[in-house]
């Protein structure tokens, strides 16, 4: 499960609406979940979001996102200097459900939470989060808790 404070939930939604009809993307930072470094069922708490430019070109941004490796490197350094880790990635699905695509699955890495917000006709709707299975075959949905 991932705990997403209400202001971060709102920021992901507003980023998705701002980027519409293109996909938005960014990274989720937080403390490492537990002394073992986290596992499939761990509870992780987002502490900071790093909104990033979708590095895909032009109209490809309607259906794809890509985070520039240099942006990732800088975010990793920001995380380390704040005593945090990169816990996951968020992106939007313009006019598509908040479900991972085959393309999401092929590109996914272990450990990270993949938060997806559906943006329908410019308005943010459902927000979900997913993690890659150990055998890379499927995504499993994890709970998203948004504290009151």
């Amino acid at each position: 499960m991932i705990i997403l404070p209400a202001d971060m939930d709102a920021l992901i939604r507003s980023e998705g609406e701002r980027a519409y009809p293109y996909e938005c993307c960014g990274l989720i930072l937080g403390p490492l979940p537990g002394p073992s470094g986290g596992g499939p069922g761990d509870v992780r708490r987002a502490a900071r979001l790093v909104p990033l430019e979708n590095a895909r070109e032009g109209e490809k941004r309607r259906r794809r996102f890509h985070i520039d490796p240099l942006d990732f490197l800088r975010a990793e350094r920001e995380a380390v200097s704040a005593g945090l880790e990169i816990l996951g990635v968020y992106h939007s699905h313009p006019d598509h459900p908040a479900r991972p695509s085959d393309h999401d699955l092929r590109q996914a890495l272990p450990f990270y939470s993949y938060v997806i917000v559906a943006v329908e006709k410019g308005r943010a709707r459902e927000l979900t989060s997913w993690r890659l299975s150990a055998d890379r075959a499927t995504f499993g949905e994890e709970g998203v808790e948004i504290p009151g």
Partner: protein, 99 residues
Amino acid sequence: MAANLLVPTALRGFTDRQAEIALEGGTVGALLQALVARYPDIGPHLFDEQGGLRGFVNVFVGEANIKGTGGLDTPVGDGATVMVVPAIAGGAPGQAAPR
């Protein structure tokens, strides 16, 4: 020649949760082979069957992506910081629209 290799969170499950590892090697390739020798399970996540870096693996020496500096043959200076950076990508169902 020793350099510090920074491992992203997603791959630390293969390095006993070590985030920063001091390794010997004069090139990026030698450094990564030293990493795999120490942590064999990380090998398949970095290299394909032909021994090339997997598509989603980027390696930076300082601020420079080795794709522009000689790839695995990129020299690594003593005390350099080398970082494995995963490519993060995805998207909604369907083909990406043409440009």
